[in-house]
Point group: C2
């Protein structure tokens, strides 16, 4: 190992001494490019100094670009002939084989030919020019406002723009003072847990959107899955389950696509009004903007007379999954709690983006964008349905609930294999897709029959991510995957 006799009694600190000596050895070539430096701990032991000394010396060398780091491996001598001034972009390419470096978006993303379970959109669909122009204007004309802390509920003009949008497109009358802006729907769930309370059981639709359950369980708050019938989540079982609040997607149930009829809505509202334990309905209106035909269904919120409904919606679906802005409308009792909670005094969304979005909505661009997206999705859906119908896939599957939202169900009445094998085969064919069973709640009140191999399997076809030109091949591949023998 490298050995230096450090001057323990000099004016220079140990780390500076060590840093100077290693530096000299690198510059003189005594240490050659690519050579690994000893691990901090071993080196510290070897030189009888603290690891902090080593750490500081390495930090200095790294800052000057004399060494580079490979995460979970260590430091290496920089090739100075190529890498001068490497500090700002330490070389991450020329790493050794068997490196464990995270890639630039370092999720282990599997690669598929087509993804029927994604939520991203392609750049041609996002109004970049308009967004850039508005954001430039905001940065030059609203500097004072950009740096002024907004109310805890969010920038007022954004809440006002949202209220205007809800009135025009969803027939919802709401005072901007009731609207709370949050950094995505999951964030708003955590706010609701605080306002409604963490001591109590929360009901979720079964099958249903798993994220609400995940957030509850992450805070060790129990949830219970309430089964559906053809009208949606069952009100009798909601009553019997002693839940405090119920999360539901009445406009377009996720994932079955059921639209809850008015009778069931009234049952649930009246339950919330009269029950001593059941207090709140959390209405997640996540994709009402993309209803493909017919009149939009009145929201639960707009027919509630008992201050029982929390209405939630998001720009994640309607604008881009990477713009993290969602909002909710709070009924009065929760609004009072929100205003009184000292942990909820700061809106988690940056002012810069709130003001940009406010202008985007208020100046009519959001409406235009929605029309364009609706049109885009409608075309894609029609192409998808037509392609399925005309392909061999159409003969072995049934299409269900295709009239709203960004997904429909594809039922395979007589699969050749069990579900796990089927999905594995489809993945092998290059297609990512989920099944209805992926959305079953783990904790059920009534016992549920296990899915038996060979019985009907239902796929969820989400078409927000797929590009139109991929559709013919994607359907061919899906067919191949499904008809593959075990």
């Amino acid at each position: 190992m490298l050995t230096y006799d450090l001057k323990k009694d000099s004016h220079t600190s140990l780390y500076e001494d060590l840093y100077q000596r290693i530096k000299k050895d690198i510059l003189s070539g005594t240490l050659s490019p690519g050579e690994p430096l000893p691990s901090k701990r071993a080196f510290a032991k070897h030189l009888s100094v603290s690891t902090i000394t080593i750490e500081n010396a390495y930090a200095q060398l790294y800052a000057e670009g004399l060494i580079y780091s490979i995460p979970r491996s260590g430091f290496y001598v920089t090739d100075l002939s190529m890498h001068r001034g490497a500090y700002l972009s330490p070389d991450t390419e020329r790493s050794k084989p068997n490196q464990t470096k995270e890639p630039s978006t370092p999720q282990k993303k599997e690669t598929y030919f087509a993804d029927f379970a994604g939520n991203e959109i392609t750049p041609d669909l996002f109004p970049f020019a308009t967004w850039a122009r508005i954001s430039r204007n905001v940065l030059s004309m609203q500097q004072e406002e950009l740096l002024t802390n907004p109310p805890a509920k969010g920038v007022y003009s954004l809440r006002e723009a949202i209220a205007g949008h809800l009135l025009a497109f969803r027939d919802i009358h709401v005072d901007p003072a009731q609207i709370v802006i949050g950094a995505g729907t999951e964030y708003l769930y955590t706010v609701l847990l605080r306002l409604i309370g963490t001591h109590g059981i929360y009901g979720v639709e079964d099958p249903g959107y798993a994220r609400f359950t995940d957030v509850c369980n992450s805070f060790q708050v129990p949830t219970v899955g309430i089964p559906l019938d053809p009208k949606g989540v069952r009100s009798d079982l909601t009553e019997r389950s002693h839940v405090r609040a119920l999360h539901l997607t009445p406009s377009h149930h996720f994932p079955t696509g059921i639209t809850m009829p008015i009778s069931r809505r009234m049952e649930l509202l009246s339950l919330a009004k009269t029950s001593s334990t059941f207090q709140y309905l959390i209405e997640d209106d996540y994709d009402s903007e993309f209803r493909m035909s017919g009149r939009p269904i009145a929201s639960l919120y707009s027919i509630d007379s008992g201050d029982s409904v929390i209405y939630l919606n998001t720009f994640t679906k309607s604008l881009a999954s990477t713009i993290r802005i969602s909002y909710m409308i709070l009924p009065r009792p929760l609004l009072e709690k929100f205003d009184a909670d000292p942990s909820l005094t700061t809106c988690p969304v940056s002012n810069f983006e709130q003001y940009t979005l406010a202008h985007f909505i208020a100046e009519g661009y959001f409406e235009k964008h929605l029309n364009r997206m609706r049109n885009h999705y409608r075309k894609k859906r029609n192409l998808l349905l037509k392609t399925i119908e005309e392909s061999p896939l159409g003969k072995i599957t049934d299409i269900l609930e295709e009239n709203s939202g960004l997904h429909f169900l594809l039922e395979i009445p007589d699969p050749k294999t069990d579900e796990t094998t089927l999905i594995k085969n489809i993945r092998k064919a290059g297609i990512r897709v989920k099944t209805l069973n992926n959305y079953r709640q783990k904790k059920d009140l009534p016992p549920r029959k296990k899915h038996s191999p060979g019985k009907q399997i239902t796929l969820l076809i989400n078409y927000s991510s797929i590009r139109p030109e991929q559709i013919p091949e994607a359907i061919e591949r899906l067919y191949l995957g499904i008809t593959q023998s075990p």
Copy 2:
């Protein structure tokens, strides 16, 4: 109030019409220099248009220098004989005494002459030009990445830039894979509660930063205040309190300013390593960037060998309070929990802002900005200290802990009144300020003596919001408030 009959049916948009009419009235002298314009909300209501219309009209007038703005007050007609082209530096000097105009965001904000408890900065301190340029580049050059969901921990290039910054300026070695980006520090606290668990007691410094306690209590998670001695939070009492984790500010204790010496740090780290209940130290390094003199103190994180420290920091203090980006470094056990938690799969900060900030740091602008701000704060602090010393206030107060962070303490050894009356009198004099007692934890382990009237009172002087030109008058007003008889 100003009344205009806007042409609702013309080709011109409402805001252009309004803008033209006000402009005409300013140029003709119908509206005289210094005259306040109505608040956006009231004006919108009065004219039956949306506040966005008013906002756009005002923005246009402001951009042309026809009106100027006074923070938390509103817009005023520019004196065109003196203030032509006032757009780039809107006049903020000529404020009216005792203005009580509605703020542009309709929070019930009290109006003060000066605020010693705020965290906002003025537009001249934010690097708007650079930010706008980077954000324009990102919007045109990184469209694909902007629409791709980042890892749950945040955009990799931002985490890499933060790791580089921490290494260069804080001597912290960290793998970007350990860094988690969040929408503000409060958001990250909610993540920590999930990772460490909601069944257990959390320790907080007493006195200390209340926000961590607030978040815990909001989730019904108990906290206990651990008293300080001159070395900072007491390790013996930490041990005896059976807390699972302790939130602390060792670099610059909030609010007393104590820097924890290495001995106490080692005690706490060894406690976390050996105790069966006490597992984590949550190191909030909220203002280490603004240490005014001496070498920065090594972080707890960098001397921890037991995977016990969570390091937290924020851009809220160093960049702007309205940009909601904070980050934390997780030790391995919590990192594994984070990766496994299905409720933590979405980063709550928009990609657009993450990429902008990543460039801002990696291209060296953040460092420049910090230097500029440090310089600005140093000057302000010196002016403040000098003004206090030379004023009558200096004779009745003592200054404590003025060497780091953005605040210092002002002790009044012999106040004329009790604390409540004193603060009321200071507010009447137009000054907002908090006392040390505002930061006492409500739930103490050992009983604490109640503050008795007439005993020493300690004010917290936070100088991030105050403008230098306000200082002489602010100190005069503070003195008047303090010396007011009951």
